[in-house]
């Protein structure tokens, strides 16, 4: 079955009424004014922290509606000239069978003028069986480009290949992203516009139904490759997402190759394209199928990589101060990379109720009434617009997973500011057992702290409204953090493990109590063995 048969949603555009967006803007304004009214302030430190958090939420909410304000259709362009295209498949230790699948798909692409290269970084990484990938390439008629050292990681790998190839266009795929036969015929037609640097297509996860994590990761992608990317087209702010894209070689040369000093080389590269006045385009058609991270370790590493790279753009290449970008592009870059600051905000929001319960201090003096008047319309409309813009495709799991990732994003912020590298290494043993409890220590600590804080709050004040509300917030956060906890360990196996443990213990106990039975059993066994020998 073709992937197009079961993934039609991303093609469609689901506009949100502008009247509703304007009304939402009014609600946001009222909500912001309420927060900025400092007569509401309780404890000044907590109030300021919470206020910062709310300003962030408002920024992201407004950024979203600004993005989806006018989503444009992208009509297919016929190909007038079949320019030569170099196809790069970047490999860094992936299993041969995964690479082979991609290679097959690349050769099946319906385009006459293409040259296929496998950019094998397995050697530099000393990955087992890296030579097999080179052999595979040769077997299929592709050209392996293999480096001894992985200088500049993926960006360095691509730059190395660029130096050895010549076609005016380069299509880039990760080793686990297999294109559809019409990938190039659907994308190359747009390059009749000489100012176009990049055509990006969605990253569809073929394994999305494998488990909770892959499903939720795909739902996050649906939001990004749905209304967000379609909206970015309007202001020419589409950015390169590393794979499933075609790039004009000249543009890469103009920016000095793919930036090697950033983990999110694609994101930064796009920023440089735009600085040089190039156009980029997002084509909302699923034209390649890839694999989602299927376990927590891989998911966290992916999220960390994206977060770190995007945050570096804020801290090192702040788009606000970059010449050549339009204001709309600056805002879009800031909005997209700013998303990863939400780890800090979630952490603040999560800790404040615990502070309030433990130390009996409140950030805001306003009562439940005011929260209901100002907060509910804001949150309700935010979710509703999110839903409308995705045609009710986004689910609770996707948001749960985003919020659960808070500590990964916090680590990314810290490591970006300190210029340190952080890695979430997962031992192979844990991967086999599916035990990622180490990665959810922050979440488990939060659960523990919440229990203590709620106990302290109730013990000191009883069931007064402030204790009930703050306890509810703590439960609210735990519910969201549960997204990670649930996939960190195979909890469902616990009853079976406990039962096994108990039966083992019982067996040992009875064995020690009735040795004669055991002895008798052994004798029977020996006798039987003798009979067999006879």
């Amino acid at each position: 079955m073709s992937i197009k048969e079961h993934t039609p949603v991303i093609h469609n555009r689901y506009s949100v009424s502008r009247l509703l967006i304007l009304f939402y803007g009014f609600v946001v304004l009222v909500y912001t004014m309420w927060w900025l009214n400092i007569t509401n302030a309780g404890n000044p430190v907590l109030y300021v922290l919470l206020l910062l958090g709310e300003i962030y939420h408002v920024w992201q909410a407004l950024g979203y509606v600004y993005t989806i304000w006018n989503q444009q259709d992208v009509p297919k362009q016929s190909i007038e000239h079949y320019y030569p295209v170099d196809i790069f498949i970047t490999v860094c230790g992936e299993p041969v069978e995964v690479v082979e699948k991609t290679l097959k798909a690349v050769f099946a692409m319906d385009y006459p003028n293409k040259q296929v290269y496998i950019l094998n970084d397995g050697r530099g990484r000393n990955a087992p069986g890296w030579q097999d990938v080179d052999n595979l390439a040769l077997r299929y008629g592709a050209t392996p480009i293999t480096r001894e050292k992985n200088v500049g990681a993926k960006a360095g790998n691509i730059n190395n290949a660029l130096r050895q190839t010549t076609s005016p266009f380069v299509a880039i795929f990760d080793a686990d992203h297999a294109p559809e036969p019409d990938f190039l015929t659907e994308t190359m037609g747009f390059f009749k516009d000489d100012n176009l640097a990049l055509v990006q297509t969605p990253q569809y996860y073929e394994n999305k139904d494998q488990n909770f994590l892959t499903r939720s990761a795909w739902e996050q992608q649906e939001l990004f490759f749905g209304p967000i990317c379609r909206g970015k087209n309007r202001v020419n702010a589409t950015f390169w997402c590393g794979t499933n894209a075609v790039v004009r070689r000249k543009t890469l040369e103009q920016i000095g190759g793919v930036p090697e000093n950033n983990i999110a080389e694609d994101f930064l590269g796009s920023l440089f394209f735009h600085q040089h006045g190039w156009k980029t385009l997002y084509v909302p058609k699923v034209l390649a199928k890839g694999l989602a991270p299927h376990d927590l370790g891989n998911y966290i590493n992916q999220q960390y990589r994206w977060a770190r790279g995007s945050l570096e753009v804020i801290f090192k290449y702040n788009p606000l101060f970059k010449k050549g970008l339009t204001w709309a592009q600056k805002l879009q870059y800031l909005y997209s990379s700013g998303y990863y600051l939400n780890g800090i905000i979630i952490l603040i929001d999560a800790l404040i109720p615990l502070f309030a319960l433990t130390f009996n201090v409140l950030p805001v003096k306003a009562g439940t009434q005011n929260y209901m008047i100002y907060f509910f319309p804001f949150i309700f409309l935010t979710i509703y617009i999110l839903l409308l813009s995705t045609n009710f495709q986004i689910t609770f799991n996707a948001i749960q997973l985003s919020m659960s990732s808070f500590f990964v994003f916090c680590m990314a912020v810290l490591s970006t500011i300190l210029g340190r590298k952080v890695s979430f290494k997962v031992t192979s043993k844990s991967q086999e057992g599916g035990n990622f409890l180490k990665l959810v220590i922050p979440h488990l600590v939060y659960v523990g702290l919440s229990v203590i804080a709620i106990a302290i709050g109730i013990n000191r004040n009883g069931f007064v409204p402030s204790v009930i509300t703050n306890s509810s917030w703590a439960l609210f956060n735990i519910f969201f953090f549960w997204g990670f906890i649930r996939v960190a360990y195979p909890w469902a196996t616990i009853p079976a493990r406990v039962a096994y443990f108990i039966s083992e213990q019982a067996y040992s106990y009875f064995r020690s109590k009735v040795p004669q039975v055991d002895q008798a059993a052994s004798e029977v066994y020996v006798q039987d063995e003798n009979q067999i020998e006879e």
């Binding site: 009434q369 209901m372 008047i373 009710f392 509300t469 609210f476």
Partner: protein, 514 residues
């Protein structure tokens, strides 16, 4: 034959379930129906209904309500008397019938019978519906005609059946003479037809849609004719500048909307419980996340009707209250509750397996607790124990004392229960004459009170502190006379005893304490 057998077995099960639910609904609506005192509004209804039809008509046109309910009550009282249980039965019966009709409405909307049973169960135990089924006011009749109107509306546009059209017309005719807010039900139906229903139509069914539209427009024209005499009266009355009995309502804020939704769900609760449950609002936010996000787009054909039917009767009056004139009271919004209950049922039943296993029992526990609390707690602010206060003053006030009521219109419940020998007066002075009810004027207060106390020794002030003027009267007496005692009968109803003349030895002490 086999199919017929299965069908009859299914029907049998359906009827059995329905009977069980009716029994449950009847129990909550009828059990100790006279245990609570009549509330002010109830006593006023009984008083109005004890007059002639002409009086009822004239009185109601000056009021904010329509005459049908009190006219029926007039006939009812003639045959069944005016005891608390008798008059309240007239509310309980439509209350029970509403649950029955609601089942058929739920079946039309939610399609699956088991979903309809679940929704009907929620309706049977709904604290809000139970409350109004035990109160002799027009709200259960209004709910019943609302449910009937929606049911026959849906059936008619589905099947184009003349019988359904007639029933729809009858329900609406009763509705428009029961409460002005019933017009919102018709508004919801019009909005649904014009803005939502046509979206579902195929080219073939568009012709049928036009037929439905013409038929409904004809029904609308007939309804207008039915309502015309009343509109004429209403026009004459409100052009005559003779004043109205309309209550002065406070302008609502956004919180009132949430409070209404809370009351739709949990009924009337003591302030402490309401505050505690409202303090759980972050979890409500979480539920709204789940509600909005963890589900596919609603595809039931009448779901948009359910959604707008639950929203418009709340938001409409709210907006009018904010921008034009306050008309917002939770009980006026009862026409939103049938669809509100359907939405809650739909939400609970569409939760994931695990969430359902947690949230539904939790919801039932909360509803059970609310229902119990609503019955048992004397702290429920809407409970008005005028019976206790009237019996108390009947026993303790002697002919040398005077009973003073403030505000004046609390005369209705006190007259119903009072059997004492002391004179009963109101502050400010009022004798139920037609026209607007007077308010305390600072300039004439002393003069009024001097007339009231005359040569009496003690004043028994029956105060309803959440109503206008009551606090003012109390403050005046507190600052000018010696307070001998104070007694609380419900959240806002107090009796204060003041010494206003030279005491006789034997009248110092109140003989019976509530």
């Amino acid at each position: 034959m086999y199919k017929m057998k299965i069908r009859s077995k299914n029907n049998y099960n359906e009827y059995l379930m329905l009977i069980l639910l009716i029994t449950l609904a009847s129990f909550f609506r009828l059990w100790q129906i006279d245990s609570e005192s009549l509330r002010l509004d109830e006593a006023q209804s009984i008083w109005q209904a004890s007059h002639t039809f002409t009086f009822i008509k004239t009185h109601m046109v000056q009021n904010v309500h329509l005459p049908l309910h009190n006219s029926i009550l007039h006939i009812w009282q003639k045959y069944f008397g005016t005891s608390e249980s008798s008059v309240r039965l007239m509310s309980a019966i439509p209350g029970i019938l509403t649950v029955v009709v609601f089942y058929f409405l739920a079946k039309e909307v939610l399609i699956k019978p088991k979903y309809a049973f679940f929704a009907t169960f929620l309706a049977a135990v709904s604290p809000f519906w139970v409350w109004y089924s035990r109160e002799i006011r027009m709200y259960t009749l209004l709910t019943l005609v609302t449910v009937c109107s929606y049911l026959f509306f849906i059936r008619f546009i589905k099947r184009m059946n003349t019988f359904d059209a007639i029933l729809y017309f009858v329900a609406n005719a009763v509705g428009v003479y029961t409460h002005y807010f019933f017009l919102l039900v018709i508004a919801v139906q019009v909005i649904f037809l014009l803005f939502f229903w046509h979206k579902n139509l195929t080219p073939q069914s568009k012709a049928a849609f036009h037929k439905v539209l013409y038929a409904l427009m004809s029904i609308g024209a007939f309804l207008y004719i039915v309502l015309l005499p009343w509109l004429h009266l209403f026009y004459l009355e409100h052009n005559s500048q003779s004043g109205t009995f309309a209550p002065n309502l406070a302008r609502p804020n956004g919180f009132n909307v949430f409070l209404s939704l809370f009351e739709f769900t949990f009924g009337y609760q003591p302030e402490g419980v309401t505050t505690a449950l409202l303090a759980l609002w972050p979890l409500v936010t979480l539920l709204s996340f789940i509600f909005l996000i963890k589900r596919p787009k609603p595809h039931l054909p009448f779901m948009s009707l359910v959604i707008i039917g639950a929203i418009i009767p709340v938001i409409g009056p709210f907006l009018v209250s904010v921008f034009v004139k306050p008309i917002y009271l939770t009980r006026y919004l009862i026409t939103a509750t049938p669809f509100y209950l359907l939405l809650i049922s739909w939400f609970l039943l569409n939760l994931g397996k695990k969430a359902r296993a947690i949230i539904i029992p939790l919801y039932f526990v909360l509803i059970g607790f609310s229902l119990f609390n609503q019955f048992e707690s004397s702290e429920v602010p809407t409970k008005e124990n005028y019976r206790g206060a009237a019996v108390f003053v009947s026993k303790n006030a002697t002919p040398r004392d005077v009973v003073v009521l403030s505000p004046p219109y609390t005369l209705y419940p006190i007259y119903y229960y009072y059997t004492g020998l002391a004179k009963v007066r109101t502050l400010p002075l009022w004798t139920m004459e037609p026209g607007p009810i007077p308010h305390i004027q600072d300039a004439t207060l002393e003069q009024d009170f001097t007339r009231i106390k005359a040569n009496h020794q003690r004043v028994f002030l029956v105060a309803t502190l959440n109503l206008e003027d009551s606090q003012k009267a109390k403050d005046y007496l507190d600052s000018n006379y010696k307070k001998l005692a104070s007694y609380q009968f419900s959240k806002f109803i107090w009796v204060y005893v003041y010494q206003v003349g030279y005491p006789a030895k034997d009248t110092y002490i109140v003989t019976s304490v509530p």
